[in-house]
């Protein structure tokens, strides 16, 4: 019960008790520093923000060399499966990936390599150039030679995944990226050639923000993908939208590249007999 009371008393006047205690502890030598700290605290408490970490080092005169990071998830697949490449660079003025071309300084792209591939990213900046690589090991599908055009060698599921690829979104956005228009056109063409296939479009979000808002946002992402497919000639009654919000993450780390993988419209074959 005593602990209870003490906690309550401390909680009632947090600011007061901190300032009262800190004054007698201040020595002359630390005074200038304390003044700066307290002044910055006052500013910070005014706008209710956490102080930014203080950096004591002087700015570096020469340009820093670029930092680059490239990951492929998963790193081992069966031919026909998708791999998500995600990359992040800093201090780079131009970034390119061999076989893909010039890309934004950070981003995500779905690829479907048919054989074991090492993706090579080059980040060039004023401070030099940095490379990053990521290797994807591709196992042949069903003991057959990986020839994507040959329907016999891939399951219907694998064919679907190779042709109807997930698309990704910017944070808090449900606008389809122009770079994904071709992905959706390819998906529409495949669906036109396979009229028996019905599709579930899942809307996904990263795990920041509320479950409820992300369900609404995921709905809009899936609907945006649906709208594009309908524009490309797919009958709306073949497309079913389900928002998963942040309830079904593909990746659970608290990193930008992971968040990016979760901001997607994901396509799967609809096996339910419903609409």
């Amino acid at each position: 019960m005593n602990m209870h009371q003490n906690l309550r008393q401390m909680a009632t006047h947090p600011t007061k008790s901190i300032s009262k205690r800190s004054i007698p502890l201040i020595t002359r030598k630390t005074f200038a520093l304390s003044l700066v700290l307290i002044a910055s605290l006052a500013v910070v408490s005014g706008c209710k923000k956490k102080p930014a970490p203080q950096t004591a080092t002087a700015p570096v005169a020469t340009a820093p060399s670029p930092v680059a990071q490239l990951t492929a998830t998963p790193s081992t697949i069966t031919a026909g499966d998708q791999v998500v490449l995600s990359w992040k660079t800093t201090d780079a003025t131009s970034v390119s990936i061999d076989g893909i071309g010039t890309v934004p300084s950070s981003g995500v792209k779905t690829v479907t390599p048919t054989m074991t591939t090492t993706y090579h990213l080059t980040a060039r900046g004023e401070g030099g150039s940095t490379d990053a690589t990521a290797t994807v090991t591709v196992n042949p599908a069903q003991a057959a030679v990986a020839v994507p055009e040959n329907n016999q060698t891939m399951t219907a599921e694998q064919m679907f995944k190779a042709n109807v690829q997930d698309i990704f979104f910017d944070y808090d956005s449900y606008d389809v990226r122009t770079s994904d228009n071709s992905v959706l056109s390819k998906a529409a063409a495949y669906l036109a050639a396979h009229p028996e296939i019905k599709v579930v479009i899942g809307g996904y979000c990263d795990d920041r923000g509320s479950n409820e808002y992300n369900l609404a946002l995921g709905e809009n992402r899936a609907n945006a993908a649906k709208k594009m497919l309908v524009q490309d000639g797919v009958a709306p009654n073949r497309l079913r939208v389900v928002s998963y919000g942040k309830e079904r993450p593909f990746c659970t780390e608290e990193t930008e590249s992971c968040w990016q993988q979760n901001r997607r419209a994901g396509f799967s074959m609809d096996s339910s007999s419903g609409n």
């Binding site: 307290i38 006052a42 923000g209 509320s210 409820e212 369900l215 609404a216 809009n220 609907n223 608290e254």
Partner: protein, 453 residues
Amino acid sequence: MIFDFRFLRRLAWVGAACCALMALPVQAQDWVHIGSNIPVGTQRIRLAAADMKPVGNDPQTPVMKATFDTTLFHDLANAGIFEMVSKSMAPTAMPGSPQEINLAQWAAAPANAAFVAYGALSSTGGHLVVYGWLQDDRNAGTPPILTKQYSGDANDDQARTLAHQFADDIIAALGGGVRGIAETKIYFVSARGGSKQIWAMDYDGENQHQVARAGILSLSPRISPDNSRLAFASLSNSGWAIRMYSFDLGRFVAFPPGTQGGSNLSPAWSADGNHIAFSSSRSGDPEIWTCDTNGGNLKRLTAFRGPDVSPVWNPRTGAQIAWVSGRTGLPQIYIMDTDGGNVQRMTDGGYAISPSWSPNGQFLAFSWNRKYGPGAPGGQDIYVMDIASLRWLQLTHDSGSNDFPSWSPDSRHLVFERSINGHTSIWTMLADGTEQQQLTRTGKDFMPNWSWK
């Protein structure tokens, strides 16, 4: 001594900085304390709760007494209006009736109590009876403020219930007629059983149990004002539907508007229990809809492109709805009339979600990340805003990611969800952000909703 002169000048500066530091939050909190009827510091009533006097030789009596004493003290300490007299400072005698109490002893140091709650407890043949009194220590001779008998079965659950009832009676008598919250429940989502389903617990975290199970997973539980029905959103193979569970009937009851087309999310009850607001994307975009509780009178209130979700009625007037809209980009809190008119944006930026309207109609509590952006750590805090003046106060600081605040019926407390390193728990606090307490500890508990009574 030039050095000392500088020293003094610096001291003055530090003093000024400290004053600025202290003045700002204290001033800012005044409106919260007044609006939520939470007294500060010495304004709190100094109350003593004596241990109950055990009566009779039934072996259950001391067991029931222990539960009752602990629960009563905890309830009164949690009320937010008392400064409780520590049990170590209370007189050693356990008064069991007005004839036995020496009020002067309780009024004197070290107890210094303004009021004392006391009584007698006995368990006889499985039946538990408590006589409770509340008395003004400094006006001996005046009749007790409260004289009441409480009874129930002699089990742990009933002992806690009787203590909650006595506590709420004391709080109503001393807290300006506003009844306490010790008998209220908190509904929430828990994934402790595997998938996310709807659970409930007492307001203090006791008695946690699953109350409904539906679909692949369920979210957003909202209890009806009369505690008879629970509305929530549930994901099945055909998408998101709003389900309605009746506690009276022990089964789901039909709610046709909640199952039609598109995702149906985030239900909310009007205070009269006659209307439901929810988010539905049946038009192709998530919008706010309202209908009668029986499903009739379906109306769409919003029409802008972008997510509209998480509605909540003004419980005082029933004439306004607050909700979250992404119509201008990042989600913000808005208010509108229940016919969709008079739309007013309440937050000025950042990422603002999950509004809860205080039962007295004065405040909105919500979750806000004021510097959301790409690469931002995603920290969210609970804020409370005075609707008339748009003044706001941050209630949580540097403690994980906080979301889904929900007001207690006395407008003095908030329950909320706090996530730290992937472990999400239910917490409560006073409406000024103090006295934060963790209620659940499985690390898999979300989206609390405080009952209306």
